[in-house]
Each structure stands twice: as C-alpha cells, then as structure tokens.
Amino acid sequence: MSIETKRPVLEVRNLSVSLPSGADRVHAVEKVSFTVSPGEIVCLVGESGSGKSVIAFTVMGLLAKALKPTSGEILLEGENILAADESRLRELRCTRMSMIFQEPMTALNPVMTCGEQIDEVLNTHTKLDAAARKAKIIAILARVKLPEPERIYGSYPHQLSGGQRQRIMIAMALVLDPVLLIADEPTTALDVTTQAEILKLIAELQDGQGTGVLFITHDFGVVAEIAHRVAVLRWGELVEMGPTEKILSRPEHSYTKMLISSVPSIHPVHRDVRKDGPTVLRTEKLGKTYSGSGFFQKARVVKAAVDVDLDIRRGETLGIVGESGSGKSTVARCIARLIDPSEGKIFLGDTEIATMKASKLRPHRRRVQIVFQDPYRSMNPRITIGESIIEGPMNFGLKRDEALARARKLMETVRLDPNSLDRYPHQFSGGQRQRICIARALAMEPELLIADEAVSALDVSVQKQVLELLDEIRVRLNLAVLFITHDLRVAAQICDYVAVMSKGRVVEYGSAEQVFGSPKDDYTKALFAAAPGRNWEFGKFAA
C-alpha cells in the first residue's frame, strides 16, 4: 500500500495565525495547508521568520499567548485540534502527538533525573504501576540506543552529552507510540557526527512504528537526508510543496530556486596554487591548557589545543574546521591574544606575540581583528554603529573626522548605506549586523582577519551574501583570513587551505581540494561521511 492511500495522521487546512499588532506583518502563518501521512517524514523548510516553528507550536497547542490561530483547521487523525479545549490537548500530548526541540541542552529539567522526567509522561497518561513504568522506560531508553539504560535512568541531564540528551527527548516523545512526531530543528545544535546519528535514529524509529513526522529545519542537507516530502515556507506562506527529489532538483518557485542555489556545495571550488605572498601568521607548537584549580579542589587539566602549527600568507584563507570542543576557537583566541597561550610561538609577520607583555602587545592588536559568531550580541546595543566602527581607529590615534570618513567608505565596502552610521544595532537585520561587524574589523586595517563562525547564525541566503562579501574583501585588500567553522560546506567554498581539528590537535592540514577530495585521516573521513546531504549536489538555478 502506498503512503498516499492511507488516511493522513495530520491534516493542516488553510491555517492562519495572527501576529500581535505592531509586528512587521499581520500573519505569522497565512493560509497554509499540508498533510502528513503515517510513516511519512514531511520537512517544513524556511529561513528565520518563515513561520515554520509557529506551525509546529500551533499543532501542539503550545503557542505563545500573543499569537492566535484565526482560521483553518488542524486535524489529528480527523480530530480538530484548534477546537479542542486545554484538557483534551493535554490528553493528546505525548499520547498521540509528541514534540522534540532544538536545544537538548536546555529542554530537560536540570533538577530531575532523566528517568523521573520520562516517568512523568507515563504517570500522567497511563495507569501503569511503578514497576511496569520503570520497565517501559528502560525499554525505550534501550530502543533509542542509550548505553546502560539503568544508569541513564538515574542520571541528571547535566551528566549527559548533547546527543544523549536529545535521545532522552526522543525516548520521552515516543514512549507512548504517538502517531505524530514533531521535530523542531532537533539536530541544529548538535555536532555533525551526532546529527547524523540522531537523524538515523529518528528515521529508524518512525519507520518501525509508522509514525508520521513533521520535521522542521532550515538545512537543505538535512532535508536531502531525511525527508519524503518538502514544504517550503516564506513569510508565513507555503510557496511550494512536493516530493523531496522533485523540490531539490526541479524547484518551480523562484524563492525555492534561490534558497537551494544558496546552499554551499560540499565540493571545494578550484583555487589557484599557493600564492607567494609574505607569511602573515605562523604558529609553532601552539598549545593552550586550562587547569581549573581551586583552593580545595582537585586540579582539572583540559588540553584545549596541542602542538598546533599553522601558517597563512597574505591573500589566503585558512579554514579551521572541527566539532564543538575541538579547540578551533581556542586557537583563534590565542592568535588574537584574547587568551594567553600556554605553549608555543605565534609569529605575526616577524614579531613573536605569544609571550609578549600586554603593554608591548598593544600596538600589535590592530593587526589582528575578529568577527564573532553572533551579530546580535557582539555589538554594544547602546552606542551607534558609527561609534562602534570608529572607536578602534580613534583609540589608535586617528582623528574623529578621518575615522568617520573611513567608516563611511567601509560601509560602502560592505554594501550598507553610509548615511546609517548614526543608527543603533537593533535597527539592522542579522546579516546587516554581521556586515557592520566586518566593517568594524576592517576599520583597524588589519593584516589578519579572523572570522569565528561568522556566518553560522545567518540564514542560508544571507550566509551566501556574507561569504561572497568576505571573499571579495580578501581579494580586494589582499588580506589573510583565518576562518573558523563547523560547517564543511562553508569551508569548502571559502578556504584555500583547511586544517581539521579534533580534541585539540590538527589531524589533517592541506589545500581545501586535497582535504575534501581525498581525506586521509580517519576522523576527517568520519566527519565528511556524517555531513548531511553529502550525496546530493544542490543545483544552481536561475531565479
């Protein structure tokens, strides 16, 4: 029997959800219709603000009070959820429909054991006695492939890793075999190898039980990996829906085409052979050891970076890729001397700065500038962007009007209106803010620009623009760029050279083409194998 002939577990008909007055648009979701059949995974894809999470929360009845469904129906196995009262909704949650969330680190109550938290579900919705409940919980913990279910049962969330916590969430969601599972960006906060495992687990479990899955994501790699059908959302409207293969390879709507074309390819672009510019940065056996020692505590030693040798020439981009905790940001921070390295040497041009005293270091600070990950938090919200940009140069002796002239020029470089220098950060979008951060870094006329996950918080279409901008600036100013990222696709597109880090060490280092084309190290291979949608070449469509 094909999927289409079964009655859908979820039918959303003509759903509209209104935003509170004063928002940038009237509806969070407007006239959206789609279905999810048993055993089917439907992906809702869209950029931030597309309304995809609002749909998920409307189905669960967990919308914030300010948002109100204004029209349409949501049928869960034929029952209209929008007409159900609060107590009926509570009965349905976790028994017929369940939800897992983006942040496994914060989605579990920190002061209750994992077992207790799953037990709550059984205690609320079933009449099982304590022994039967415990047996059921141990069984589901084993089913989500957690090691030592008995131990995990008594563990607190903070004792588990992110991937393990997401498994607990999945166990909790599926313990009563609901017909519908809603997964709201469940792997976005996880490392790529963990992500691959969780995606596989979700697909296996839903296939075995015939669960319908509504999977929300912004990542087309994940879509290619897991979805049967895809619905593309923009500004609360469903622009296109169809089978995954069709949407990814033959999109019809111009927005879908633009989105898919923006997905960076995992195959590196061909770059020219090594430039013979002077070396801007070189590290020798760079290491950073954290030792937490209190008065009465046992000393804990963490080697965040060990024996890191890197070099970047003028006009080149070196990427450091790795998972969380691999030490890539530690290396960046050591190079910028935001933290002091514990071993090794850092040469900035001919100057060794690893052990330089703070007072002597000051003139060299100008030469290395950083763009950080989160453009929402890396600018002082209480001063204008103009002041933010000129603060650095003025600190190094530039006159105010000269600094302002430079700022205006830089605003043009990053393609923003020079007349908006007197505005505040909150008046700009995420992508614009990241451009401002780049302008601020460039205002110091650095020799080395460090981008620490600088495009990770951005939507894919904005990400593409910022990446192009960074590359253009590198060429135009002949800058050396150190690009830190966890995203292999991004690294493939922007880096000349790539260093793969794992557990504080560089495990593979070479040209991007060589590392991506024929990885040698086992860890690198595993990392690439885990990249979602690696077998899918996202086409470039004319919009």
């Binding site: 967990l62 976790c94 989605a107 579900v121 609320t124 607190y156 969430m169």
Partner: protein, 313 residues
C-alpha cells in the same frame, strides 16, 4: 559534602573572632571607665574597684581579651548588674518567646509568600499579580510597629478575637500560646512576605521562559504540576538565599515586635540592656545572634544541594 561542611565550620572561626573583637572593643572603647559603666550610675568607688579587679581591667588589654574570650567560650557571659542574674540565665529565660516568634514568622512568611509569588508569576500582568506587587510595596514601606498596632486595634480591640499583648509559655497552655503568637508573627512576617513573594515571582518568571517548561507542557502535564514540580524547584535557590538573609532582618524586627506585643523575649531584653547600659548582656546577645546568623546561612547553603543536583560542594 562532609568536606564542605567541615570547611565552612572552620570558616566560621574568623568571622566570629572579628565579631568578638568588635564586641570586646565596644566596651573598652566607650568613653570613661568600663567598670564605672558596668557598675551603673549609683555605684560607689569600692564597687567600681571591685568590678575592675573582677574584669581584670588592671591587666594589659591583650590579657584582658584572652581572659574574656576564654570566659565566653566556656559559656560564662558574666553577670548582669542590672538584672542581678548571670547573663546565661537571663538568655535561657528569654529565648523561648523569641524562638517561637521567629519560627511562627518563618512559617507564616514562607507559607504565604511562596504560593502568592508563584501565582503572581503564572498570571503575570493580571489583577492578582498587581495586587501582590502592590502589597509588597506597602509591606516594605510601612514600619512594623504601625502594622502591629493596626492589627491589635482591629483584631484584639474592635473584634476581640485575640488577646492584645502578653505571652504564655508553650508548655503551660498551648492554645493560649498560639493565640498570643498570631498577631506578633503576622506583624513581623509582613515585611518578609513582601520580600520573599517578590523574589519568588521574579525567579519563577525567569524559569517559566526556560525550554524545559515548554517540554513539560508538551508532555501534557497540568499547569499545577508544571508550576510546582518544574518551575518552583528550579527557582528555589534565589528564594532560599533571601530567606537566609531574612533571618538577620528577623532578629532586628523581633526587637520592635516584642516591644509592641509585650513579649518577654531576647528582643526586649536587648532593648532593656541597651537602655540600662548592661554591657555583659549586650555582648552576649550580639555574639549569640552572630552565631545564629552564620549557622543559618550555612544550613541554607547546604540546602541548595537538595534542590539543585548540579550544585556540589
């Protein structure tokens, strides 16, 4: 954990040493002859000389301190010239009403403020929330004796439900004891209810925005379970901290409340001792209150671990 407790107990020593030095110096630095001060206004010069020898005031100051602290450590707080009893006896007599008042006040305060704080957070912006917040401003700003006299006027004089003043020992007549405890504890707890309900509301509000509250609701739990089991326990640490700090205010408040309601407790003893310049008694009371304060806060710190498993000492 045991480690932690031992370390904290050791840490009490320097704190109390500082308190002891200040208390000791308080008497020595008072203008005039401490012996004359202690002996009172009507003492003869023989009596003063006698006291001076007794207190060892003719010794150098360091020796005096060592003798004094040795006495304190043995529970020998000296003799009250005003009350004609040993200070230890005095305190033993007066401790029950104060202890009873403190315990009743805490029960009232926590029992009322935590639930209304949680409700105010849950119904943020509602009438109930505004009433609770309004009450807490009033509770902070009206002095204890005003509240005390108002309560006496309404409940004791106009309605005649409860006695106006006085104290009956708990062992003598339990019902009479309770009757006489209600108004003083209510009076003293008003400020606490204001303080704790505000903190409870703030910290529960913060917790209600957490992801795990959303998870709890997605499980189909009732609002009551979400609030009491998931939100309140996570909000507990700041609330406990304020309760601990509140014990200090409580001791200060007891002085006023005991005077208003005629309770023969330590608060009134302190007032009487101060008014009659009865230094041995004042010293002993200050020392005792500091010990209580330090120990209570140690207990509060230990209780954090009961509420939050991430806190390990």
């Amino acid at each position: 954990m045991i480690d932690f407790i031992v370390r904290r107990l050791i840490a009490i020593i320097p704190v109390l040493t500082v308190v002891a030095i200040l208390v000791f110096l308080m008497l020595r630095l008072t203008p005039g002859d401490p012996a004359a001060v202690i002996a009172g206004d009507n003492a003869t010069s023989d009596q003063i000389a006698d006291i001076r020898t007794k207190l060892g005031l003719n010794e150098p100051i360091w020796t005096q301190f060592v003798i004094w602290i040795g006495d304190m450590l043995q529970g020998n707080f000296g003799e009250s010239f005003f009350f004609k009893k040993t200070v230890a006896e005095l305190i033993a007599q007066r401790i029950e009403p104060t202890l009873a008042l403190a315990v009743c006040t805490l029960i009232f305060a926590v029992g009322i403020s935590v639930p209304i704080g949680v409700l105010a957070a849950y119904r943020q912006g509602s009438l109930l929330d505004r009433v609770v917040m309004g009450f807490s401003v009033v509770g902070f700003s009206v002095p204890g004796f005003v509240i005390g006299y108002c309560l006496i006027y309404v409940f004791a004089i106009e309605l005649g439900w409860l006695p106006v003043q006085g104290y009956i020992r708990i062992g003598v007549n339990f019902w009479g004891f309770l009757e006489r405890m209600v108004l003083p504890s209510l009076t003293l707890s008003v400020g606490f209810i204001a303080l704790i309900s505000r903190i409870t509301r703030a910290s529960v509000l913060e917790v209600l925005n957490e992801d795990y509250i959303r998870t709890a609701r997605a499980k189909g739990l009732s609002n009551r379970v979400v609030l009491m089991r998931h939100a309140l326990r996570n909000a507990a640490v700041p609330i406990l901290t304020v309760i601990g700090l509140g014990i200090a205010i409580l001791i200060g408040g007891a002085v006023v409340t005991e005077s208003v309601f005629g309770l023969p407790g330590l608060g009134r003893l302190t007032v009487e001792a101060v008014l009659s310049r009865d230094f041995p008694t004042i010293q002993a009371v200050i020392l005792m209150f500091s010990v209580v304060y330090v120990v209570v806060n140690l207990l509060i710190d230990i209780s954090y671990t009961l509420f939050d498993p991430r806190i390990r000492y």
